[in-house]
Subunit: 465 residues, 2 copies
């Protein structure tokens, strides 16, 4: 019997038959995330569990057969973290999609990992509550995947990232305990320091330490008003960088502070003909969500910062439709670039003051490789997403893009930054991680992996290689 | 040669002589924290290092001689975490007290571990910046100690705890690398998810994983105005608990929300004769730090919440002196209780909605042991500090207090809470930790300790026992 047949039959022996997927087409569809450029292995089987106990059974089977287990949510990742490995079991957690408890009095919510981010937001809204993290994938990505990559988004400049909201979780683990043991780590309380921060270890661990089967999140009160938008067009990267610095220096923390470069604007304009300023080099978009007069004041101060930095045009939007249309431009950048070719999404983060230097480095790298790069950035966080575009099927261009991708990582490291702000390491950034972190720090990372997963079955080879 | 002489002489061989302390009186003074009830061992030597390199030397000596290393800052801890162990080297990091860099453009600051919390606040204020965590010990406790215990304070209800501000750190470690290796973990950027969250592991680890020698902190813009104060007196714990619930339900996040029970008020009144309402059972104190009209509005809404819950008296203070006097009452609780006897400080955290039930449990436990317990609480976080007071030298009362201490931990666990919100486990809460966490979770905690410190020299026996 082949390993593939053995995995599927052992899983069928333990689980209801309909949980197990071995149809090659279905299995193939659940074998890759959205990082078009990363390697996808051939899975032995897929499982769609309906409970934490079934997840535990799958972990036991994988441990027994010594085969890799690759957990996934909606597969919206951009680093290959959820890609299948040869001979693995793909564990699709999107079927565990229940909101288990909304505790308004405690300002917490308990969810299964497969709950979609925007679905959670909708459920909470009906209780007057709000879960802030808002990755671009929020309409389809799951909380489990958000936790696994410590997902960010637009509003983290003011409200923090996924890590800041995870209080506790249940995970099926191995290592110091028997493989297939479900443990509850963390807490339900606002504060706590009882033992090591195991929750923090799981957040951003990309499925390499165990399988998350339940998450307890901190939530906030719903925002009273829709955010209003402040916009600024600039004729140079330097001027836009100066505007961001002026916002910081003024002590303003907007609810979003996004940057789109000329290539982004051009791509959206060519597609949608919104009438965006064709001469602008950079667009800054800010969200203000303070209520009433305080919001008016903050919006006015943002306009002042933009103007003082030399904006060619700046204003606070006065109606929702106008504001929404401007942020729509931002959301359209990725699809607009995909119309032009295959898109390789970067995700680097630099100290705030290094944003202009990083943008200049990206321009330089793009020019050197004759590669169109459009950069969209969470400017207030120093988190940049250069999008590298190549004609589909052009292998020379693809090779140039991969070279540029690595050079952008090096430039970020050189500027005191990191190779990933919110997408994770997955497969695509393993070499970059080895350049960012010292051999000693990597030795510690490997020791942690070995302590949690001595059989090396939890998403092996991802992140650390 | 005794182990004691051997440690001191080996340290002198490696370090400038004046760094090494072996005078018994001086050594004794640096051998205990402020937890009067925990065991203090007899140290072999003390060291006051002047650099990270000297810390590394001390770690190497301890690894070579297999003797415990106990790091300490100002010794303001309340759980025995910094208490000397027999034959240990006490490493006093308060001598590493420089602010190394203030990066206003990046909103970060780099400090040595011995910088005092309030000194850092003062330095930052001159740059228009602010580091929020404000433990009661802020006038003397160090950032290194704050990081080691994940210290909280009053303003965490709005601004988060130490963990939320630590971006990166340097630590001298052992385990997967040679003992005495300095590693830099974490980042300087606002966001990042490159590898496991090693920073999060160190925060709250109470010196058991290595010695922190440098910390990179996120900072905020200075608050424009001094916070104003809203006060409410209540005739029952239930009414005060209802007031806190109403604040939560209204979506208000004050900059502090503190609770003092009757025993606190009585102790301060007996000492200072402020004219506090002698009939009140509970005082709630809130800080509002929104500027201008928004602050007026929030203060008015807090008064409404307090009134709706049946406050016997409630008002927003109109001048700074009055507001300051009310918060001064809070600060005086601990010294007022110490005038009455030996104080055993508790630190439990429960889900917000369980605060009234927890207060009732504390009353019940105090009555059962005929023990005066005064409770001060960060009510907005569900973090309570019952202060157990016994006549000095009364060993029967001390035994009763220790029994009550454990029963309070059990009551917190029963209500879904944790045995420590912000003080740490140290020596005093090791039994409680074993009751809060499952055997499986404890096995994982021990595996982490073993991976980082196979020789078991970093503050051995603390936290995990």
């Amino acid at each position: 019997m082949t390993a593939v047949a053995s995995a599927a039959s052992e899983l069928r022996r333990r689980l209801p038959a309909e949980r197990v997927v071995d149809d090659p087409d279905v299995l193939s569809a659940m074998s890759a995330d959205q990082s078009a450029w990363s390697a996808v292995g051939r899975a032995a089987a897929g499982v769609r569990p309906r409970s934490s106990a079934e997840v535990a059974d799958v972990v036991r089977v994988c441990a027994q057969l010594r085969i890799p287990l690759v957990p996934r949510g909606a597969g919206t990742g951009l680093s290959g973290g959820a890609n299948a490995l040869d001979g693995c079991v793909v564990l699709d957690l999107s079927t565990l999609d229940r909101v288990l408890a909304v505790n308004a009095g405690d300002m917490t919510v308990v969810v299964q990992p497969g709950v979609v981010n925007n679905d959670l937001k909708a459920t909470l809204a009906s209780h007057g509550l709000w879960y802030p993290p808002d990755p671009a994938s929020a309409a389809s990505s799951t909380i489990g995947g958000n936790v696994a990559t410590n997902a960010g988004g637009l509003c983290c400049v003011k409200y923090g990232v996924t890590r800041d909201y995870v209080l506790g979780l249940e995970a099926v683990v191995g290592g110091p305990v028997d493989y297939g043991t479900a443990v509850r780590v963390g807490r339900r309380t606002a504060k706590g320091v009882a033992g090591y921060d195991l929750v923090g270890l799981f957040v951003g661990s990309e499925g390499t330490l165990g399988v998350i089967t339940e998450v307890t999140l901190r939530v906030r009160a719903a925002r009273g008003a829709r955010p209003r938008t402040v916009v600024g067009f600039f004729s140079s990267l330097v001027a836009a960088g100066d505007a961001v610095a002026k916002v910081t220096a003024a002590g303003i923390v907007p609810a979003a502070l996004e940057l789109l470069d000329r290539a982004c604007l051009q791509a959206v304009e060519d597609w949608k003909h919104f009438g965006l300023d064709a001469d602008a080099e950079v667009l800054l978009l800010a969200h203000v969500d303070l209520p009433g007069a305080a919001g008016d004041d903050e919006a006015a101060r943002l306009v002042d910062c933009f103007a003082a930095a030399g904006a060619t045009w700046t204003a606070a939007s006065t109606d929702d439709a106008e504001a929404e249309a401007l942020f729509e431009t931002r959301r359209l950048v990725h699809p607009a670039m995909e119309r032009r070719g295959a898109v390789l999404s970067e995700d680097i983060c630099v100290p705030r003051s290094a944003v202009p230097a990083m943008l200049a480095a990206i321009e330089r790298i793009g020019a050197a490789h004759e590669l169109p790069i459009a950069t969209i950035a969470h400017a207030g966080d120093g988190n940049l997403h250069p999008l590298l575009v190549t004609p589909r099927g052009d292998s020379a261009a693809a090779a140039a893009a991969q070279q540029a991708f690595e050079e952008i990582l090096d430039a970020a490291i050189e500027l005191g930054g990191t190779i990933t702000g919110e997408h994770g390491v997955g497969l695509l950034k393993r070499a970059g991680l080895r350049r960012e972190q010292s051999a000693d720090v990597l030795a510690i990372q490997h020791a942690l992996k070995a302590a949690f997963d001595p059989l090396n079955i939890f998403n092996p080879g991802k992140v650390l290689g």
